[in-house]
């Protein structure tokens, strides 16, 4: 983690634009509106490598509502919908 990560505002990855890069601060599955129960959503995100401290970058967006997004997590690329990405808090 670099110094400016601490000073940047925290935001859900689901709101970030294409080209955004940041570091995962924590996961918060509550109130994202995902069809999955909170615990299940959080487990799946962790299983795909979305854990605190991981570097993320939004590489691509879909055409309908800029959704889903293709996210680079360390050195793999994962497609997720913005709704689920709301659980990933980044800065």
């Amino acid at each position: 983690m670099t110094d400016d990560d601490d000073t940047r505002p925290h935001m859900p990855l689901g709101l970030a634009q294409r080209g955004y890069t940041g570091v995962i601060q924590h996961l918060s599955a509550k109130g994202t509106g995902s069809a999955l129960p909170d615990i299940e959503l959080e487990s799946r995100l962790i299983e795909l490598g979305f854990v605190e401290g991981a570097r993320v970058e939004i590489l691509h967006e879909g055409i309908v509502g800029r959704d889903p997004i293709a996210v680079r997590v360390d050195n793999i690329t994962i497609a997720v919908r913005r709704r689920e990405a709301m659980a990933i808090i980044v800065a």
Partner: protein, 623 residues
């Protein structure tokens, strides 16, 4: 004393090369492709180690954890935990990792350790890792994990030597006392802790140069562009369907004249009579009329295999996710539906990767509406007989365009049906999440493409030789017996069983413009769609008598109206003419009801579409 059979299992994250490794070890040809979720079944194979130990190895669907969220992941979980009925637990689990992407596999490995099974970590795709400058301190990794580690290159000759050596060493000193299984579903906190632990170990043992795959990034910039990406996808599909029609033509004509020459040879060498009629009309006209479509089948498979191996499929799913979401389909449904262009059966099996039950069911119900390769013979035959081979706008073949239209109608109606299912049956539909790894592109390997095509071609020909052949014998028999009474003036076929059966059903099909010959061809067409073509070939060949040297397409062009031809095309878009697909639906949904539903709704759609097409065409003067 001979050592007992050693049981191995291949476990790992999706797309890490488990099936490639399985094929390399056992010499099998299971399906390998560059997207997550290719393997959805358990497959067992056998081999002998360099030291002579007999080994059984089981290939399993890829999974990120042992929680088993979808039907394919449950297979892996149950096998590893020994829950599968009548199954023994593996003696040794090979945890297969994609060396360029170790985080998720090492987490999985830490979870696997709790099962108490002896483990080996296989760092597969080591060639790619080396090329990218990734270095792994294998000894240290083994020490920190407490598990033997070995590198492998599943797709290269000799790439599994180290693994075999290690297997021999380990199997010699396996502890006969089973270790305790302390696995239970991990809590979120435990998951997080194991991922942290995995990341720490990787930081210690693996050096990653920050050199991502620039090729993948460059291609994705175009292929995943919100607008450009969709254009590329449309273009790929369009070229694919055009190619099926245009590229295959010369080869098909060659095959066609080959079968004609063969038929004439039989006609000229054998004395007129039943044997001559059986060989010429039953076997050569029937089986030949289907076999000529081999080039088209090969082309469609070539396209699909290339897309799969290149790594495009997951991208297409990404592009289509929200668009299909509008019709109530999940993004993960895209790959099964695209595979259904080849054949609905593997397509329906591939829906196992969809974890949400309703999403999966919807996908299964509409998969048969995708234009499978067995429809190609029917479409091609009718199109070439009735649609002029003109170019429109200078470069698009009109016949290819009609073909594309038929494919498009299938796709659009699948989306409509899915929309109706969502609207009427699943009102409280909440979109299940879409999470999919997009693998790096890989250059398709000619050998694997060749094997893929060879396998499909063989299957197609085997079907022509078995199902289609036996149906042809039946049709020939029905169309030839009973023989006409002496002195009869009508064509001989009018006295046959086929005519009697066909004429009995024909009134039902008269409103859609089908004559009795079509009616009788549709019955064996239930076994497999392309049989209808062969059956028409036989019926018209027998009906035409001795002077019927003309090809079946020409026969149709003189005997059917354009309206009838179009109506039959419409029928084939929808009709549930495939017994094996229905059987797979029954198996995968575990219920007769869904099978019956599929059959009924497709039949209703087929009849309605044909009725509409026929009447509109007649009204427009094509009757």
């Amino acid at each position: 004393m001979e050592a007992p059979l050693l049981h191995l299992a291949l476990v790992g994250t999706p797309n890490s090369g488990k099936t490639s490794l399985f094929n390399a070890l056992t010499g099998s040809r299971q399906k390998v492709a560059n997207y997550p979720g290719v393997t959805v079944e358990r497959k067992e194979g056998f081999f002998v180690t360099p030291l002579g130990r007999q080994v059984s190895v089981v290939d399993l669907p890829g999974t990120y954890s042992l929680r088993g969220r979808s039907p394919d992941e449950e297979i892996t979980r149950d096998f590893v935990l020994g829950k599968a009925s009548g199954e023994r637990m593996p003696d040794l689990v090979l945890c297969v990792a994609d060396s360029t992407n170790l985080r998720l596999t090492i987490r999985l490995l830490l979870e696997l350790k709790r099962t108490g099974r002896p483990l080996i970590l296989v760092l597969n795709m080591f060639d790619i890792a080396s090329r990218r400058g990734i270095t792994v301190d294998v000894e240290r990794l083994a020490r920190e994990l407490g598990v033997p580690v070995v590198t492998s290159i599943a797709v290269r000759k000799g790439g599994t030597t180290e693994l075999l050596k290690l297997t021999d060493e380990i199997s010699a000193k396996l502890d006969p006392e089973p270790q305790e299984n302390t696995w239970r579903a991990l809590s979120v906190a435990e998951l997080r802790a194991t991922q942290r632990e995995a990341d720490r170990i990787i930081a210690d043992c693996v050096s990653l140069p920050s050199r991502p795959d620039t090729w993948t990034a460059r291609i994705d910039a175009v292929v995943l562009h919100p607008v450009g990406g969709l254009l590329v996808l449309a273009l790929i599909l369009f070229v694919m369907f055009q190619a099926v029609f245009a590229w295959a033509q010369p080869l098909m004509e060659l095959l066609n004249s080959g079968f004609d020459a063969l038929g004439e040879l039989v006609h000229d060498t054998l004395p007129a009579g039943l044997l001559q009629s059986f060989l010429q009309n039953g076997v050569i006209s029937g089986v030949g009329s289907v076999t000529v479509f081999l080039p088209q089948i090969i082309i469609i498979f070539l396209f699909i295999l290339l897309l799969e191996d290149f790594g495009y499929m997951a991208r297409a799913a990404f592009l289509m996710d929200r668009i299909m979401g509008g019709a109530g389909l999940h993004g993960r449904a895209f790959i099964p539906l695209l595979s259904s262009f080849a054949c609905a059966i593997p397509g329906i099996m591939a829906t196992r990767v969809i974890d949400n039950k309703r999403d999966r069911l919807t996908t299964i119900l509409i998969a048969p509406l995708m234009t499978c390769s067995a429809r190609i013979p029917v479409y091609t035959l009718i199109i070439s007989a009735f649609i002029p081979a003109r170019d429109v706008w200078g470069f698009i073949n009109l016949q290819g365009l009609v073909m594309f239209g038929l494919y498009a109608t299938g796709i659009v109606s699948a989306l409509l049906v899915s929309f109706l299912i969502k609207f009427f049956m699943l009102r409280d539909y909440a979109p299940a999440p879409f999470m999919l790894e997009l693998p790096d592109y890989k250059m398709p390997r000619p050998k694997s493409i060749a094997i893929g095509i060879f396998t499909r071609a063989k299957m197609f020909l085997q079907r022509a030789g078995t199902t289609i052949f036996s149906m042809m014998v039946l049709i020939w028999f029905l169309a030839s017996f009973p023989q006409p009474p002496a002195g009869a003036t009508e064509p001989a076929i009018d006295f046959s069983l086929a005519a009697i059966i066909g004429k009995a059903i024909a009134p039902l099909l008269a409103p859609v413009g089908f004559n009795w010959q079509i009616a009788v061809a549709l019955i064996p067409g239930m076994a497999a769609r392309e049989v209808a073509v062969a059956a028409l070939g036989t019926v018209y060949a027998i009906e035409g008598g001795k002077e019927a040297a003309e090809q079946i397409g020409q026969a149709l062009a003189t005997k059917w109206s354009l309206a009838t031809a179009l109506s039959l095309l419409a029928w084939y878009i929808f009709a549930p003419q495939c017994a094996s697909t229905l059987a797979v639906i029954r198996r995968e949904t575990g219920s007769w009801i869904w099978m019956a539903t599929t059959f009924a709704y497709m039949l209703v759609l087929a009849y309605a579409a044909s009725l509409l097409t026929y009447n509109v065409a007649v009204a427009l003067g094509a009757g």
